[in-house]
């Protein structure tokens, strides 16, 4: 299965390389094509407000609902927190770290290891709950 994933990813990379050669001429500096900056000042502040809003939602849940006792600490709240965190991480990586505007090949090279980390996380959580049941 892992090999299958690799093949799919590499075919995507090559597809990207082939497709990308057919577009408009770029200015070339040191063999690196200069692409558009992609982030204007306005867009930077928009992303900042998204991040701020997401953090505020986390605070509202934590202080308004959990601390005052409307919601129980537990799986549901934790999933909401983690989803909000992952959305924040997406905005930081995609826009602040500019990854959204890079070649698909680079995105996949970097993303593949992150997918494997998710696998690692799931494995160790299962291990953790096993320890919780059988040792402590």
């Amino acid at each position: 299965m892992g090999i299958c994933v690799y093949f799919i990813l590499f075919s995507l990379i090559f597809k990207d390389i082939i497709m990308a050669t057919d577009n408009q001429p770029h200015t070339v500096v040191d063999g690196v094509e200069e692409h558009d900056a992609g982030m204007s000042k306005k867009k930077i502040w928009t992303v900042f407000y998204y991040l701020l809003a997401l953090t505020c939602i986390e605070f509202i849940i934590a202080l308004g609902f959990v601390h005052s006792g409307i919601l129980e600490r537990g799986l549901l709240v934790n999933i909401i927190y983690i989803v909000l965190t992952l959305i924040k991480a997406y905005y930081i990586i995609a826009y602040f770290m500019h990854l959204k505007f890079e070649r698909l090949g680079l995105v996949l090279i970097l993303g593949l290891s992150l997918i494997l980390i998710v696998y690692f996380i799931i494995l160790l959580f299962i291990e953790g709950s096993y320890l919780g049941l059988h040792i402590y």
Binding site: I17, F48, L52, A62, I92, Y95, M97, G105, L114
Partner: protein, 229 residues
């Protein structure tokens, strides 16, 4: 000269023979990305162990009670407020960094300097806040492998895990912030010394920016996992 060149020595220009840069990023930028991925592994290892402990332990000290003070203002009853300020400062300094990168794209030396200075100030403020947080917790009795007496008993084992992991992970993150600030200062001085002006490109700002955003990114996770969950 050109008559001496064999066919093998000719510069290849074809799509499949090396005539095109497949990833279209500069060498240093690719390397900082690879470094950040390896750094992700380190932080993931820490945070995954923390998560596994949360799953393994039958109970866990309540973060709303541990982190409920604002230094110099109040000792009790304000959970998340101080760390909220810290988070805001770090996100803010990430924004000023990205503004410096944007100014670098326009080769505007003056704006790069302005935003780099703001970024450094933000980083130093965050580090100061973290020092206060550490000092407060240490004062309460938390330290590597040590817990206050109030947590002895049922919560003892999980509290020891909590305090060791908290100081290790925020310490490692703080170390990254420190190196980030040092690198930012170096790059600021390089900008002041017109190094990038002579080089013709402000790409170095972008590379340093990647590192700085990574530090911010790690904090987003540390914040959620230690203070909220």
């Amino acid at each position: 000269m050109s008559t001496n060149l064999s066919q093998l020595d000719e510069v290849k220009t074809g799509r499949w023979s090396g005539g095109r840069n497949p990833l279209s990023v500069e060498y240093g930028k690719l390397m900082i990305w690879i470094f950040l991925v390896s750094d992700t592994f380190t932080f993931s290892a820490f945070l995954i162990f923390y998560g596994a402990q949360r799953f393994a332990q039958p109970n866990w000290p309540n973060p709303d009670i541990i982190f409920e003070s604002i230094p110099y203002i109040t000792e009790h009853g304000t959970p998340l407020v101080f760390v909220g300020i810290m988070t805001f400062i770090l996100i803010m300094s990430s924004v000023t960094m990205v503004l410096a990168v944007e100014a670098g794209h326009r080769n505007s030396r003056k704006e790069v300097i302005k935003w780099m200075i703001w970024t450094i100030i933000g980083g130093l403020t965050f580090l100061g806040c973290q020092a206060l947080e550490w000092a407060h917790l240490h004062h309460e009795g938390f330290w590597f492998g040590a817990i206050p007496d109030a947590y002895r008993g049922e919560l003892e084992q999980s509290s020891i895990q909590f305090s060791s992991l908290f100081f290790t992970i925020t310490g490692f993150h703080g170390f990254h912030v420190t190196t980030g600030i040092i690198i930012n200062i170096i790059v600021l001085f390089m900008t002041l010394a017109n190094v990038f002006e002579r080089r013709g490109t402000y790409l170095m700002i972008e590379k340093v920016g990647l590192y700085w955003h990574f530090v911010d990114l790690v904090w987003v996770f540390v914040f959620t996992l230690f203070y909220l969950v």
